[in-house]
Symmetry: C2
Subunit: 361 residues, 2 copies
């Protein structure tokens, strides 16, 4: 591949002049410029990032670590699209900037993260995203100052900047809405008990109940998913067995997420129950494909994953640029709360053939 020296020699000028033509720095006579450009085109010269990085010590790279690329998209695993939507949001912002995004996938193996970070450091990335598949605490070993980092959909105990969804608020608003529609007995099928998403959604559920003066009944709260990855359909079936056998059964079931809601749909129908006439179902997360293809369409909460990605990317870009211009100015985590919480948005699937909001609940 042609170098700047090849171009210089062929054009009969010095390498520095070629550099000036490429970058538009110093003054170059029009005739010289054209001659150089002609040679550049003829030789197909493309400057080497490596050499540029060595001189400037700025790589123009941002690293992103995720499991979203390798994760099955088909809903066959507990984790789903959230991280993917986040990656899309990040991607959309970065692609409009002058930086290049390097995506590294863990391929489902968290052990790999160390090696990926190492590779990124070798490439001298200026910033780093870590996107988790579910809202939870993580422990990342990024002892490298000089690499701005943002945790997305997760956080650590070191005060690393992070962007989180408002799981609690979303569940609260969903349940409050159900209450407003007249429901009093509201069941909750929870997700993996280890994750914060589960804990926060449970709290939001409680918030809405107590705000409406409805007594909390722990018989109505059952796990819809166990951490071992046990057969979900069986777990859901068991939970429904319990809930439906209660002396005062619920009028609506809140599933921990849309995938769970889909299983609930199937399981209820198998029992001969009509949805929403006999019992209503609500979801969480916007797995659009699920929510739209179910019949009736599912009421769900759309967590703003794409927006979280966008916000993380804008934030990181800003910090990388600041770091570039004022290299020594650093924020300690006590300077300000280095955490954005992004509020959920409602998504009412009230599309098609006059389907009316509330008619399914």
């Amino acid at each position: 591949m042609a170098t700047i020296y090849d171009v210089a020699k062929a054009a009969g000028v010095s390498p520095k002049t070629v550099s000036r033509v490429m970058n538009g720095d110093g003054p170059v006579r029009a005739a010289t410029r054209e001659a150089v450009l002609e040679v550049i085109n003829r030789l197909g010269y493309v400057p080497s990032t490596a050499a540029r990085v060595m001189k400037s010590n700025k790589s123009g790279l941002l690293g992103l670590i995720t499991g979203a690329i390798s994760a099955p998209i088909d809903g066959s695993t507990p984790t789903g699209l959230p991280d993917f939507f986040i990656v899309q949001g990040i991607q959309s912002v970065i692609s409009r900037s002058s930086k290049t995004l390097m995506i590294a996938d863990t391929a489902g193996d968290e052990e790999r993260i160390g090696a990926l970070i190492r590779t990124f450091l070798e490439h001298r990335v200026e910033g780093l995203f870590y996107v988790a598949d579910s809202h939870r605490e993580v422990q990342l070993s990024v002892p490298q100052p000089g690499v701005e980092t943002v945790l997305v959909n997760c956080y650590d105990d070191l005060g690393t900047p992070s962007v989180l969804p408002d799981d609690r608020g979303g569940q609260r608003r969903l349940v409050a809405d159900l209450i407003a529609k007249g429901h009093r007995r509201i069941a909750l099928l929870t997700l993996d008990p280890e994750t914060d998403a589960t804990r926060l959604r449970f709290l939001g559920y409680g918030d809405a109940l107590s705000a409406a003066g409805i007594a909390f009944d722990d018989e109505l709260v059952r796990p819809g998913e166990l951490k071992g990855g046990a057969d979900e359909r069986a777990v859901v079936r068991e939970a429904l067995d319990h809930i439906l056998a209660l002396p005062e059964p619920p009028s609506v079931i809140c599933a921990g997420n849309d995938r769970l809601a889909m299983i609930v749909f199937a399981s209820l129908r198998q029992r001969g129950l009509a949805i929403p006439e006999d019992i209503a179902v609500a979801g969480y997360d916007d797995h659009c494909q699920i929510a739209e293809s179910l019949d009736p369409p599912l009421t769900t909460v759309e967590l703003p994953y794409h927006a979280m990605g966008v916000r993380s990317a804008e934030w990181l870009l800003q910090r990388v640029e600041e770091a570039g211009s004022a290299p020594l100015r650093r924020f300690s985590s006590s300077d300000w709360k280095l955490c954005h919480t992004v509020s959920p948005e409602w998504r009412w699937h009230s599309r098609a053939e006059g389907f009316r909001l509330g008619s399914e609940l």
Copy 2:
């Protein structure tokens, strides 16, 4: 960030010795090695790829261009998961190799491809994947020798190596199977008439009919998708209106893909038709989420997208390594047929509750 010189000075050795410790080249006394390693850990030294690339002229990078990351996953667009599965396949192979995969997304804008290739060249990628969202011809401007390229799910007229799915064979086998099950009037809803996928699947449909001695009836073949991106539901409705009003209506409808099949399901049900009792439906492509969540589960053809990704990656890796060892040996496209065709696999959704193959057709 610490450099090899910092380490050398702190350890009281020459940079070259540090290099030897890092790479295990020449002999180093055990005591010296340990002293150097201690300093490396203490300073958090990470070698710079940029410097290494400059010296060796090998970046260890492979570039991948796709629209799969930015494309909506939710089935709201004509293109779907094929490219995503391919990317996963490629990713899985590369992550086990010593190369680093850089993924660049077109963000839906084909114009961007030139710029992305340019960026890759600046990074001196050793190989390049281009993954298309549907089987079709493309026109890529990669006039750079020295960068091994593989087109996946597409091809060009320059003989660039490419990996393609056997769309025709898949449709032929699907239709042959329907015939074996007793169907004689088989309708086909085609995709965007511009793509090769559509043309090849149509040919496969014809292959199966003529092999069984069934006369082709063009009344049974209708577009289920128009290239303008018109409202699909309306297009499908119109096609069904036509097909169902025929004097001799079909006993089964082959939808161009699973998404279309989903719309067909909804549209047939709206007409009060029972599936599969009144009329059967088959899909194409394995959008697992759709195929599994439909009731009854959909019979469909799984194109081997993941396998195509795997094969492309292994192929490219091999060629990159060959190019490295024997830099001047090059194949011209006439040397051998630089095209792999990967055959489809059947995927019968016969899971759960004793659903039996064929019972829905």
